[in-house]
Structure formats: structure tokens, C-alpha cells
């Protein structure tokens, strides 16, 4: 293996290469930092590149390997979405509000991955405070989709998805509140896993909507996602929503066949709202699963149509509460020359937050305000229960639910910025899993208009093993996940 093509390898292959002594972590990290240099001007996937600390960490990883003390991710490079706090490193959350915020501590996810030997290359661009589906709300400008630079990579984890798709990083962390890992994974031809609510610690992950947010990964394959999830998952006393549930060996079960797997298909997922070529790619993928021994059954999620409106009450309500911490006093942007305290609050927040974040704070404040709480917030939490009940009933008959991740392939930058509702409807197939706290994964399953299409698999609570196995078995039979955008090979 020459160092000229290290960027083409996924995590699992790279781990083998490092172990065999084919190359060192320093060589690998150097090669990838060169990729950042060569491609990030056009992609804008990074907010911060941590070249110096990456090389130091790689040197440490090589030294540890020489002593025989290697963690499971020893020397493996990755990038972190800029929503995760990283000690001593700028952590902006894509916002002017945190333009100068240097985190005094590491998120648990960051700490665990580093503890296993992973090397951070940098922090990736994202929609401001993870609020967006196109990366266009970032204060640092939109990320470009490596498959077509005039298109969005999706969002909010757009920088993470673009850097993995462009072979700059073999893996990235992301977060998913309504589809923010899975939708960009679909739009960039990468594998994106959102675990069960509470599966991965959110300590040090800047909060958006606390009953929905979950950390996950974007990788080149399900096998690589399984490797990372095994390190990231598990109880954390510092996150009050972390769930104390045993962490299985996610790699162990990947090899089992799909014989007897019960796959549920939701009819509404294939309605008029779905792009025809996207639908064909997804149907072909279902046929592959069937040929591998899975059985396809139709399941009904009668309240699914209400998932997007439910989300756009619950998520803004929680966002308006979470983002009240940005007061211009303890950290974050402060407006110059305030007249008084009220003026300081209002202008600091008015200047620090972008238009979409403001809309969500205002929506949330409205639905929680006196006289509207019952009609909106309480009602939404009732409908949310109905949606969760629909999933529970469906999972009595099937092991996974399969369908498209997004209604269409990547759209052009600027195409959906005028109407918030058009943008919100991008997450129509992914939001249900967040509302019900379920794990979901998007894997590449073909192309529509020469752009990648994602197959979405959703499982019951803590059903990550089944999802990863299904995705891995599919990836053994297909090569969509190995396709590389032109110019990035």
C-alpha cells in the first residue's frame, strides 16, 4: 500500500494496514491533511483544521503501537462535527454566537474516541446549531456536495458527510435530531448511523432539542460504523439522558445472513412525494435484501404524515429553552455598547444567531407561550405518542423498516432557502425515528440523476446490531458504498 492511496481506504482496512506495519499513523495523517489542503477550498467542509495536534496524536499512536499498547482505533483519523466540545480547540456549532468559543473540556464522544487511539483531523462545518437540512444556515458558509459542487451535501452534518464522501476523512462524527446524520449520508453516498436515543452520551454535545438529539457516525461502510459505535456507545453518568444498557459487540454479528429477516415496507414512503428514480433505486435495494433471504411485509404507520408538523413544534420548543443559555455574559457573542441589561441580551442574541435559528427560537417561544401551550406543545407530544405507538405495533411484526432516506437526491444550493416548509419536508422519512427514539441508518443504494440515493433502515430501540448487520450484508452484495465522486478518487 503506497501512501498515495491511503485516503481511499475505510477505517477497517486502515486499521489492518497500521497493524501490519504497511504504513504509520503519521504517514496516514499526513496524507489526509494533504487531502484537506487540496480539496477543502472548494468544499468548505471544515471550520477548523487541527493539523499540529493531529500529527502529535499520530506520533503518540505510533509510539504506543511500538510498545504494543494499542487501542482499537489506534492511529485512525477522523473528523468531529463542530457541535462536539473539544478541549482547547475552537467549537463554534456553525454560529457567529460561538465564533470565538474555545471549549474548556472534551465531549464524552471525543474523549472516548481519542481514548481508543483515534486522531482528530479537524472540526466540520454544519448548519448553525444543527438547525437545517442543507448546511446553508452555517455562519461559515455552505458546504458543497463533492458529487456536484453546485449542490448541497444535506445537513445538518454536511461537513462530516462531505469530508467522508470526498475521501478526506475515513469517518466522521455527526448528530441527528430529525435526520441530520442520515439525510446528508444519503445525499453524499455515505453510510450514516443514528443510534437509539440515549445510546451514545451527549455530554459536551451542544444541545438543540434534548428529547430528540443523538450522536452518531458517518463512515464508508456499515462495518466501519459498527467499529466506531462500539467505542462511542455506553452509559455516561455526566449525561442525564444516557441509558444504562449493555453495549454488545457490534462487529461480532455482522457476518450472519439475512435469512428470515422480516423487513417492513411503509406504503406512504412510496407516495407521490418521492422522486421516481430515487424510488426505483430503493425498490432495487429491497429486492437485493429479499434475494438474501429477507421477507418483505407491508406495515402501516397511520400517523406518519403528522411527523414533520409534530417535530416543528417539539424541536423549536426545546431549542428556545436550550438556546436561552446564550446570554452574552458567560460565553459567546456580546453586542457592543449595550444601553442596559435587556438591550445587551436582545442585541447579543439578535447579532449572534442567524435567521433560521431565530425562526426556531421564535416558533418555540410562541408554541410554549401562555394560551398556546395546550394547542401546540401538549398536542404535539400527544401526536408524538401516537407515532411512537405506530412504530411499536409495526415492530411486533417486522425486524427492520426499510424505505428511502430522503425524497429526492441532492438539491441545488439556494433552491430551498426561500420557503422553510419545503426545506423541513426533506426530513419527512427520517423524523419519525427521532420522535420515537429509534435507531436508523442510511446506506448508499444507487443513483438518481447521477447523484447518490440512500436506503433508510429503522429498527426497534437498541436494534443497532440488526441494522448494522442488514446494512453490512447488503454492502457485501453491492458496491454502491464504494463509489467515489469524480475528482476525489
Amino acid at each position: 500500500m503506497s501512501s498515495n492511496d491511503l485516503h481511499t481506504q475505510g477505517l477497517t482496512q486502515l486499521a489492518r494496514g497500521l497493524e501490519n506495519g504497511g504504513f504509520t499513523a503519521v504517514e496516514l495523517v499526513t496524507a489526509l491533511l494533504d487531502r484537506v489542503e487540496a480539496h477543502d477550498t472548494e468544499l468548505n467542509a471544515f471550520i477548523t483544521v487541527t493539523a499540529d495536534t493531529a500529527l502529535q496524536a499520530a506520533e503518540r499512536a505510533d509510539a504506543e503501537r511500538n510498545k504494543g499498547e494499542t487501542g482499537v482505533l489506534n492511529g485512525l483519523p477522523l473528523v468531529h462535527k463542530d457541535i462536539f466540545c473539544t478541549r482547547g480547540v475552537l467549537t463554534t456549532c456553525g454560529s457567529r454566537m460561538l465564533e470565538n468559543f474555545v471549549s474548556p473540556y472534551d465531549a464524552t464522544v471525543v474523549e472516548r474516541l481519542a481514548g481508543a487511539g483515534a486522531v482528530m483531523l479537524g472540526k466540520t462545518n454544519m448548519d448553525e446549531f444543527a438547525m437545517g437540512s442543507s448546511n446553508e444556515t452555517s455562519y461559515f458558509g455552505p458546504v458543497k456536495n463533492p458529487w456536484d459542487l453546485t449542490c448541497s451535501p444535506g445537513g445538518s452534518s454536511g461537513g462530516s458527510a462531505a469530508s467522508v464522501a470526498a475521501r478526506i476523512a475515513p469517518a466522521a462524527t455527526g448528530t441527528d435530531t430529525g435526520g441530520s446524520i442520515r439525510q446528508p449520508a444519503a445525499l453524499t453516498g455515505t453510510t450514516g448511523l443514528k443510534p437509539t436515543y440515549g445510546r451514545v452520551s451527549r455530554y459536551g454535545m451542544i444541545a438543540f432539542a434534548s428529547s430528540l438529539d443523538q450522536a452518531g457516525v458517518i463512515t464508508r461502510s456499515a462495518e466501519d460504523a459498527a467499529l466506531l459505535l462500539g467505542v462511542m456507545a455506553g452509559f455516561d453518568v455526566r449525561d442525564s439522558t444516557s441509558i444504562d444498557h449493555p453495549v454488545p459487540d457490534y462487529l461480532a454479528g455482522l457476518g450472519e445472513s439475512l435469512q428470515g429477516l422480516r423487513v417492513g415496507i411503509v406504503r406512504q414512503h412510496f407516495d407521490a412525494g418521492l422522486d421516481a428514480a430515487t424510488g426505483n433505486a430503493v425498490r432495487d435495494a429491497l429486492a437485493v435484501l429479499e434475494a438474501q433471504g429477507a421477507s418483505l411485509t407491508e406495515v402501516d404507520l397511520p400517523n406518519l404524515d403528522l411527523s414533520v408538523p409534530t417535530y416543528y413544534v417539539v424541536a423549536p420548543a426545546e431549542c428556545s429553552s436550550n438556546l436561552s443559555r446564550f446570554d452574552g455574559i458567560r460565553f459567546g457573542h456580546r453586542a457592543g455598547n449595550p444601553e442596559d441589561l435587556l438591550d445587551m441580551y436582545c442585541r447579543s442574541r439578535g447579532e449572534g444567531f442567524g435567521a433560521e435559528v431565530k425562526r426556531r427560537i421564535l416558533t418555540g417561544t410562541y408554541v410554549l407561550s401562555a394560551g398556546y401551550y395546550d394547542a401546540y406543545y401538549l398536542k404535539a407530544q400527544q401526536v408524538r405518542q401516537l407515532i411512537a405507538d405506530d412504530f411499536r405495533e409495526a415492530f411486533a411484526d417486522v425486524d427492520v423498516i426499510a424505505g428511502p432516506t430522503a425524497p429526492a437526491p441532492a438539491f441545488r444550493l439556494g433552491d430551498k432557502t426561500d420557503d422553510p416548509i419545503t426545506m423541513y419536508l426533506n426530513d419527512i422519512y427520517t423524523i419519525g425515528a427521532n420522535l420515537a427514539g429509534l435507531p436508523g441508518i442510511s446506506i448508499p443504494c444507487g443513483f438518481a440523476s447521477e447523484l447518490p440515493v440512500g436506503l433508510h433502515l429503522v429498527g426497534p430501540h437498541f436494534g443497532e446490531e440488526q441494522l448494522l448487520r442488514t446494512a453490512h450484508q447488503y454492502q457485501l452484495q453491492t458496491d454502491w458504498h464504494t463509489r467515489c465522486p469524480e475528482g476525489y478518487a
Partner: protein, 95 residues
């Protein structure tokens, strides 16, 4: 338009968020569209449905009431816009 300009300005005040004169028309328009969109929830029959409190029906975990955090004020204040002698500075609030 389901929301009026005055209403939006009231909400903005509750949220301690300045919405500039150049932003207000667009904000009223887009917020109205969002409110109209989420209004479809009113069609759902939720009689006797208990509102969701937690996606996994988990209860809030409690911890013993003991001090677990150490004093890291100086480090934390490095991110503060204005501090003096360990205090956070704000505009004068008492005349």
C-alpha cells in the same frame, strides 16, 4: 398571515431576541407559514392520549446530593466577554 407584526415583536421580546427592522417582514411571513403548517396537528384525534414524556419511557435519573464538581472558574471565564476579579461584568442594573 396568521401572525401579526406586533405579535412577533412580543414573542421576540419574550425570547430576548432583537429582530431588526430589515428582518421583521420576512420573519412575520416565514413564522406565519410555520404556524399554518403545524396547525394541521389540530386535526389529529388525541382523545385520552397521554402526552409523551420520554421516548423510551425512562424516568429521570437522580444522583446523591454531593459536591462532584471542582472549581474551574478561571478556566471557564476565559470564554467570558467581560470579567473582573472573578466576576462577570454586565451593564449597570441598579441605579
Amino acid at each position: 398571515m396568521s401572525l401579526e407584526k406586533d405579535q412577533v415583536q412580543h414573542i421576540a421580546m419574550l425570547a430576548r431576541l432583537r429582530v431588526g427592522d430589515d428582518e421583521i417582514a420576512d420573519t412575520v411571513d416565514k413564522l406565519s407559514r410555520i404556524v399554518d403548517f403545524v396547525d394541521q396537528l389540530s386535526q389529529a384525534d388525541t382523545t385520552d392520549v397521554v402526552p409523551m414524556a420520554h421516548p423510551l419511557d425512562a424516568a429521570q435519573r437522580l444522583r446523591p446530593d454531593v459536591v462532584t464538581e471542582t472549581d474551574e472558574r478561571d478556566e471557564f471565564q476565559e470564554n467570558a466577554p467581560a470579567v473582573s476579579d472573578g466576576f462577570y461584568l454586565v451593564p449597570k442594573v441598579i441605579e
